[in-house]
Point group: C5
Chain length 305, copies 5
């Protein structure tokens, strides 16, 4: 498949990467029904680890089975399927690349009370290579006092992943020395996107930002320069600008399961602000399969439109 102009343009923003890394980044953009558009919708399923099995899969018990999610990603036309080690090992040997896989290298369960937010490393770059993945995934918590450990681990992983030609998808969830609202404040989400880009992430995943400003110093600047934050499109625009003026792929999570029309409106805001796509877990796999596929196709249509 000849690459589209848009895909070529996006690849041009990563001029220092090896052909191998760019090849896998291109695979991510050239899979599924959004192939070639430069937009992407990814199915992530780490909730079994993060929230527990019943909370994650009982609403649609087919999801207890690791094969279900891979099938859902393929049938709905997602660009990729992202999951922890166990879920990917349970399918990778059968799929052999039928859908691009992203191995999440760290995860946090909700049984333990950890002093400072910090996920555990639960898989390695070598696992991603062994399973035929196209990228590694990693979660940082900007705002955590355990930040140094997380950034330093990430630095090592990015470097090792590059040696195998794998780009990095970074989940950036501000948490720690922040108010609850502050975790999704526009200034904080934009800052998290900037940090992620500076750390060398190839694809950045943040939560949809809210119309709230957390940091006093940032507030002065937002007011002085009248940076618009009213609409989702306004805020997404600022976040995308904060990721190297739009030259890094920034995608947005769907968050908690919600009603379809509210979800699609949010997706339109993300698209209008210049977001590169969505990563949608619970809103997809907790619905019955046909509903889930219909929803994912609607989301893809928004991004394509």
């Amino acid at each position: 498949m000849a690459f589209s102009e848009r895909v070529r343009q996006i690849l041009s923003w990563y001029p220092s990467e090896s052909p191998a890394v760019l090849t896998n980044l291109a695979r991510l953009m050239n899979s599924g029904s959004l192939a070639g558009t430069g937009k992407m919708v990814i199915l992530p399923v780490d909730q079994g680890f993060e929230h527990g099995p019943a909370r994650s899969f009982q609403p649609n018990p087919a999801g207890y089975d690791p094969e279900y999610h891979a099938a859902l990603a393929i049938e709905s036309g997602c660009n990729a399927y992202a999951a922890p080690l166990g879920f990917l090992e349970a399918v990778a040997g059968k799929l052999c690349g039928e859908v691009p896989l992203i191995l999440k290298l760290n995860n946090s369960d909700s049984l333990a009370k950890i002093d400072q937010p910090c996920s555990a490393l639960t898989a390695s770059v070598k696992d991603a290579v062994r399973l035929g993945c196209v990228a590694i995934g990693y979660t940082i918590y900007p705002g955590s006092a355990a930040r140094n450990q997380q950034y330093q681990d990430l630095r090592d992983l990015i470097l090792e992943a590059k040696e195998y030609g794998l780009p990095t998808v970074l989940w950036a969830y501000p948490r720690g020395a922040l108010s609850k609202d502050g975790e999704t404040a526009i200034d904080v989400v934009a800052y998290a996107a900037q940090i992620s880009a500076q750390l060398g992430a190839h694809v950045i995943k943040v939560k949809p930002p809210k119309d709230f400003i957390e940091q006093a110093e940032a507030k002065k600047v937002f007011e002085k320069y009248s940076i618009p934050t009213k609409t989702m499109a306004d805020r997404v625009k600022h976040v995308v600008q904060s990721a190297f003026n739009g030259k890094r792929i920034v995608i947005f999570s769907g968050g908690e399961a919600k009603e379809t029309s509210a979800l699609l409106e949010e997706i339109r805001g993300i698209r209008d602000g210049g977001g590169f796509g969505s990563i949608m877990g619970r809103n997809a796999f907790q619905r019955p399969k046909t509903e889930a596929i219909a929803l994912l196709k609607d989301v893809m249509n928004v991004f394509r439109g």
Copy 2:
């Protein structure tokens, strides 16, 4: 010995493993009197380390001798014998594979007061290789604030073990930020099984769950979807489902020494819920040898039946 259909089916759930790992997993399933059934009964003897020698072995002093336990495992027809480094070193050079061995790589004694539950690494993958073992064993304490260290150590050990073709048997004992009842609550045990599977364990060992729900968020889901938890069979079914919809081998411990009929009733519940077997230490080696063999054979008959 031609593999049974059931063994082939179970091996098919691990499609990403190397032939070497699958070979050792098959050895585990094709040993002892349950060979070929896909069920397993394992004799574990780490109580000398975990609880002290007199508490463990005085009820049947033959057990002070490391050769006793290997003989017990062989004569009773267990699938494997699991123990810490010292006990295995004392017999491995004589057995040369007469019974499959599982080397427990970490252990915790009860002399020290440790702030956060965390076993000490007491043996290495290279020891397991040197001793001719078919698998490594490791204990995690989900719920411990030392979780990250444990998961990360495990990740390294699993990867190293795979390089030598060794699968991993994971002991998952929730402990730490949990109530005493919560450690064996149905939601918590199921969550521990899910975490274990996601971490890449090949065989998961949990305690028989109780009819109690620890986490408020989980409770809402159990009630909303009326997940049955009354009988042991109900609860085991949920745990097995939580381990990749039954596509991971989940076995259950016998716990404290108890009376034979109560024990066999528990075993029948485990079998009816779809459990893959038992790992039974004190209930076996603290009885006189002939009684212990009789009991283990009864247990195997339940699983075969």
Copy 3:
């Protein structure tokens, strides 16, 4: 280009370095409009990471784009451009050495509350090599109780960098067990320069010192020997003397954005005290491009004059 006498003299102060390290040190001195003078003006852009994107780039939104800064450094005739991993990766593959690059290996964001000042390692020496940089950059916080970790990491990085022929530019910002004024006190800044030189830094970057003495023991000495500290030139002279009697390259930061005439007066003080140059970020990139270039040229003229 034949090396000037001054460049040869400066290189002679590093008699134990390999030809490869001296070659890159010479490249730093022989680039831009100050080439050959032994003076240097460097453009650093790490504020997006350290202070957040809006605070850094909204005053001149062109700065959201990583290509802007590289262009600014080239067009204004800076000796080098220093930035974190992401910003350099976004341009290095296009520039191919058009301007000398310095990769900052550690950074600190302002979202987290860290107990002891300590930046996170965010890039590696191998990244600097891969991106064709002429030097690595690193920040220490003398005065921090996390000092040992920082000095030890630095030691490893300097040694590794030398293996690739890369010299080290050290940002030395006293912080921790110091009063707010103490962080830029003349005795403390001079001490930081001495520590930096002893740690093996090739180029030392400190803040312009104030006419204030923090340490009681130092105060006695300043008074006993009447060390002059009234003017910026006096103070810079003491700092430069404290860096091996002027035999290490010491440059000074511009600090917060300020008015042009005040800035140029400060620069003249630095020059008169024997400072080797300036490293100027916000005062440059937060101005419109033409203004920024004019200012940087003025600064260079001061140092050349």
Copy 4:
């Protein structure tokens, strides 16, 4: 020298060891005047490090000199001489194996107040190899909250030592979450012996146990099964049984300097309980040399008898 039946029997209890490790274990048993009996008396001199020089050596100032102790071990017919790095380096190059040497790899001084009992690593396996030693020595403090670090360090050292054919002599001193009496309680010393054996020690060194039970859970078992603890022989018997039913070499320390007849009575108790020997420092080197040699010969005679 043809091996005695007893030595052959003891070696048979280590069936998983390489010929190289067994060879050095045999050297330990076939040296000195107890050669071939399967009993051993070892001279350890680490008190200079652990208690300070004057307290250790002033009672017999010849002991300030490292050559004195090696001569004492040789002339008295000890099986081996154990000491920290410095003392062994001061003699090894002259002795060239005249007496088997055991290098103690960790030590603790009494100047520092350490939060949790944990010796410092003060020598390495490579040092033991370089000095021609027949074994490494290591101290653990079961009961310390720093247990994990100690057991894990030991695991690494044992494995590395085996690569060079060196067995491990383990000093097991319960300390930490224990009462003062509990440190030498019969249940605790037996537990320490069990832990040591499980950790893979080849020779285990404990203190003579007292007629006291520390742990409530253990007390129940000692009472229920009427385990005898009245005499030293009773207690030593339980400790030896707790070390793999007598299949690990367990030796006992002499403790503080004491009067000769009391000491010999203790030695007879150790012998009658099945102890494999003694490790006797202060009681030997703090006496004048002729007295020390006479005492050590008396002790050897007890064990031989």
Copy 5:
């Protein structure tokens, strides 16, 4: 130069060292005006790092320049010059061995407040090799709760240094769980010398001990055996005895700058007690050069006499 009998004797106390290590130890003893006497005077200049530049160098501003100290060591006939990385790098490439160099591998500044005394590692063995040094230097703080880290780092460094034929000079400064007087108490300094020797140091540097006993247990022994501590010669004798009965090279620091006659009296005490020499920094480099050379020659004459 044929070795003197005394040098041969001293070398004979290190019978386990390689020819390479002994060669460098001999170089240390065969340099400067005390060559061949077995005595040594070393010039150490780490005060710029430890106390700050003005406090160290303003009394004699020539000392700001790293070339000054090397020249002072050469012209006065010192056995060696010891300094941190930066100072040595500034001269090593010019000197090419004109004076033996000792690279101090760790240092502590006085800006930070560190919880437990522990110097930072600021250079590596590879640096010492690269700079043509004859030995490494390292500082321990016996009495610090960070003791384990320091001893373990030292162990690794000594072993690595030996691989390159470099002996170790150990600065032993008791600090931490001690009274202020206790840091130089005779029992504590002697204990520090013993620890240093046991850790494998080749040359031990302590402070001149005071007539004070810190530890209650030691006090009993000093009184019982009437160990003399009145004069400096008495105390030095006990320290030297505590370092393997005089079979390790023990040298003494000059401490704070003081008046010449008091200093020379202290030196005579050190000599009379059997001390092997002095290491004298501030008392040398803070005087004008001719005075410093005169003083150093006087000190050497005392030791020679």
